[in-house]
Symmetry: D2
Subunit: 383 residues, 4 copies
């Protein structure tokens, strides 16, 4: 099948942030082309955005409903293969459901939905339709995150004892939502963001990273969420004690009022015989610790890494690949799976590695339980 | 008064660790001389140790009780001025009490006593006698820690919102107490260490650092202590949510099973308008963060630091001073206060800056409440 | 003009390295589409490569000569707008000259040609035709490099005194050219690489970076080139003293036998009142030093950066952009200039910022003079 | 012999810098006591300084000549064992010569003398008398420097190919010698400092470090020295190409006008099969690089280090030891050798490891040849 995979986009018009990221991520590996979009709930804005992306005007739609209907009506050689949903949280469910119901594969930004119930419905639909669904927990796209996961799965640090995961940002340290900051305003609005503020926006990334790398599920949480900025309606800070399967313990803290922090997601894991440390802002380094020997500084592209890490890298060591490339790894693997489906083959096992609807549902449950625990007097809440 | 201050030591004989640190710390600034000691509960070992330190045999004692009595009987121009107590935790109280009762100033290793009750008795004695009592929470001796405290006190990062403090070590990741490791064996023995394992040994340092730097007291804790190593009787890991005065929140985690960690004490504090970050293993750097500007890398000896930071530094920028120098800063300030007392003057205000019996008592209460909370089902325990 | 800019590629077929980088760099910003190529001097390999890139077979050519002729014959609405040349050094001149002669703009990998004479011919052609020529000295595409240049141009560190620039790699520490390593074999072959080995491959990047950032020309060199690996015919290591215009001094060293180094290009510049430091492997940080104050850690996306740095960034602070994005900045700016030409407008001044044929010629002269100096007994050789 | 080794000091009175460093370094390990001194050429200042150090007034001398004579006349059980010379460069030779002639061992600050001729005379005296002479090239006292040396000697990185050594400071970037800065004024005065400015002060440290770590002698230099600050009479910046024995090449650059640099001495060495990297400002880390594997971060106190590195360390990993401890290692080893001499035994082999008069002479020759080369037109000057 000698053609690129065809993407339609929902959201991501002029002034959006994450939509642009998705378009770059989809473009990097040249396996996907943007063929259509409903880029805004404002049809005129959608139209102008489509022009920015050099799309023919008849493939730029005024609503996602219109897009689904009209694309479905196009001949197979022409219509989009999948939908990329890059709207605010409360507008994930609608287009995702409609896409699945109309036979389109889906890439969806996180958190997957506005509520746990919506996530459950989507999961059911994905299971029933067998369509491919990728959730952009993009930080697991980094080669060194994959290396960490592979090493733990291979027993290289022994049974996991402790996890410390953190996601600190400072951009919401003042009440920027009162200014004209579009990114801040919907994220701090319970009607658009959901029950979690920082929790939904970045806490779920931390949770997903911890579970992905360790291969362990979080079983109980004890949390304190805070809204530090006066007048803010959702949490902008969280400190959480974690219990994992198999007796592992941990701590997760995230914040959007951590003044001066850019995008500091980091994780450390200690097992019985070793430890791992990774920082998103220096993503091509993985520190590997052991009981008796000095720490080894694993690097993307250096030495014998796991196949899954190697497959997530494009250029030689020392040529830093960053956020966009990690994000692109989700699109790359997703596109491989879509291509395999179209060609009626099986995708390479390494390419099945991207976050799924199950990760989305877990994230929603995590937020729900953390919020519940934080409001109550009970010490531990089970997930 | 043209002479050095005279130190007698309790503990710290051959094979000890922290005793040697205290002797170096006392020696560095050449204001203190070791004149006598009861270096071991084993008189022969005490005698041999005294010889190592070039002491005359009549100033090497078989017990601390003997030392107190005999030194007290010496003429003022000859006898020790203060006692340095460097024994395991359960042998702090006895010599400290006796020293105070006999009119000797005291330097004591931390945690100050075995139990809260003992700490209260010592506090009463210190208050009654007016003697000088220094507790070696040595990490607050670093210039950049003092700089951080001064900046926060001066309002440079605004009202404190969040504190993340960590103390991770890996040396107890296996059951080293079963081997002949003297340092491990008493620290993991509830009869010698007290109710806290890692909590008493390093958790109190983290607590003390957080309160010293922020100037805020911890008011409530929610904790999970774990003994990961099978058969170990005390905690070797702790994850704790913190509430501070004035609405600040925080997280403290410490561990002695964090494989590959050397001595990773670090703290980050975020206020309404700025943030601070300090790592003990790179102690001459303090990162100063702000709402709009790039992070500034404060360094010992560079630019206009606070007087208290400058006073804690001996040599120019870029000539790293480390753990021993920070430890020596406690002895230096303590010795200045003792000298002022002997000379019947007032010490320089900058020299009053060392941890006191109050810090010791707070540390004991902190451990007690954390242990209590960890064992129960109550979410928050007040200090 | 609502369409993407059309790129034809020379070289970069299966098994190549830099061709893939160019394709990603061109794709990232979605302003350029690959429409044709002569991907290999082997027509069958070219054909297969074209298929990999989903090109129609009639736009995949067996030679660059064929490509130029046939593309030129296509109607304006269809034919390529520019040629991207990604072949080994000795095959830059031919296609570049032919492209210019046939009215195509050019992106060319560095070093620009095999010899200084060839570079002079190309410069003459560029000047005569007025066509747009970009040389991919990609490291100047990083936002923090542009920030450094802007700060120096703005006098923020005063008159330049000293430059230390380094480019260390270790991948040629053994005789990998004897194995089947395609990248190594042509780079160490004087018939393909030119008179410089490491000098041409990476030394020119260091030279270009130094001149770009400081705005000063190198005027004299004193060099020692070495071929450490037995049997290697070109230098794999260089140590060079530099004299710049206006009395600045410097040192440049580069190596491909620096075992364990990945791709360590870095530069430090000291002026009368400040200093700057940048490392390619941590590209989003720029250290800014001053006489009295602590060092400030400038970061991509943080605080008030220069317009040229801001224009080189796609996503917020802390979301690391790396090598491919910096490379893409050359394509982005080049594409803006091509688009302006097609639309008969003037490009934004910020978009004129990419390396030119003049940089290419300077690089060739630099290599020539360094090689000459290294072979002789004269201390200083003028450029 | 149950007593401390007795030190007399020449120089280092009130207002001095390096004298205080020597006193701390001698005090740290409690093997040495200061018993007398001629702390200043001004007798009153010497007297006051002696009082600061709690010395009896009859052991504080008005000149070093007086000190030598009077100490020699004291009974063996009382007189000093060695002299520590901490004066400016031009006052090293006089007291060193007199000390050796009177049978006293010597510790001398670097560079060893004012001229090569003086250094030759001292070497002859040391050889003839058999007295112990230590030169405080203190940077080789760091555990990780010793580890590097041991690894290279053990062949762990193969035959050395390249050395990059740097010593950058910024404190002389302006004409501070015109203010009342005592440290700056003698260092920039050819009558006190000698023929080298930065070269003598810090360039010799870099040279000594390179030769110590690699075990290779520098055989040829090609240098450019510059005095950037108008009116300064000695070099404040140097860029030097190096040739070593056995075909190794290198570059050494040092500066005292590198604005914002504190005390950045660092070295990297690449051999045929590995590489090493060490930075004085983070002295407890040694990066160990290899052909195929990721870089290993050796740390003081972690894993199986060489005996010589272990012997240079006092406290466990992660408790940073710094500049003063490294300096103290010279005194510690020197004191062990003096003690062995007094006790008529042989010192532990590990304790013979400190810089000698030979290192001093080499340093002087290095400065002389660098200055000569820099002034001439000859490319390479042999040492």
């Amino acid at each position: 099948m000698s053609r690129k995979i065809r993407m339609g986009m929902v959201g991501g018009g002029r002034g959006a942030f994450i939509g642009g990221v998705h378009r770059i991520a989809a473009a990097i590996d040249q396996q996907i082309e943007l063929v259509c979009g409903a880029f805004s709930s404002n049809p005129e804005k959608s139209r102008l955005s489509g022009k920015d992306f050099f799309l023919p005007s008849d493939r730029v739609y005024g609503s996602y409903e219109e897009m689904m209907t009209k694309e479905k009506a196009l001949p197979e050689g022409e219509r989009m293969d999948f939908v990329s949903i890059v709207t605010p949280n409360h507008v994930h469910f609608g287009p995702a459901k409609l896409a699945l119901e109309n036979g389109f594969h889906v890439v969806c930004d996180k958190p997957v939905t506005f509520s746990v119930d919506e996530a459950r419905i989507l999961k059911k639909l994905v299971d029933e339709t067998g369509l491919i669904f990728a959730l952009t927990h993009n930080y697991t796209g980094y080669p060194m995150v994959k290396q960490a996961r592979a090493m733990i799965a291979g027993g290289e640090i022994g049974k996991i004892r402790k996890v410390a995961v953190e996601y600190s940002q400072g951009w919401l340290a003042t009440k920027v939502e009162d200014s004209d900051q579009k990114q801040a305003s919907w994220r701090t609005d319970p009607a658009k963001s959901g029950m979690g503020g920082a929790m939904g926006d970045i806490g779920t990334h931390a949770e997903n990273l911890a579970e992905y790398v360790t291969g362990l599920k979080i079983t109980e949480v004890c949390a304190e969420l805070t809204s530090f900025v006066p007048g803010r309606r959702l949490d902008d800070d969280a400190n959480i004690l974690l219990r994992f399967e198999k007796g592992a313990r941990g701590v997760l803290h995230c914040s959007q009022i951590a003044v001066g922090e850019e995008n500091s997601l980091n994780i450390r894991i200690w097992g019985e015989t070793g430890g791992l440390e990774w920082h998103q802002m220096e993503p091509n380094t993985l520190l590997v610790k052991s009981l008796e020997d000095p720490t080894v500084r694993y690097r993307t592209g250096v030495g014998q890494l796991s196949p899954v890490a190697q497959a997530a890298q494009r250029i030689p060591a020392g040529h830093p690949e960053g956020y966009l490339e990690a994000f692109a790894n989700i699109y790359k693997n997703f596109a491989s799976c879509v291509r395999a489906r179209l060609e009626e083959t099986e995708p390479d096992e390494l390419r099945r590695d991207f976050p799924s609807i199950d990760d989305g549902l877990r994230g929603m449950i995590f937020v729900e339980k953390v919020v519940e625990n934080s409001k109550g007097e009970v010490k531990w809440t089970k997930l």
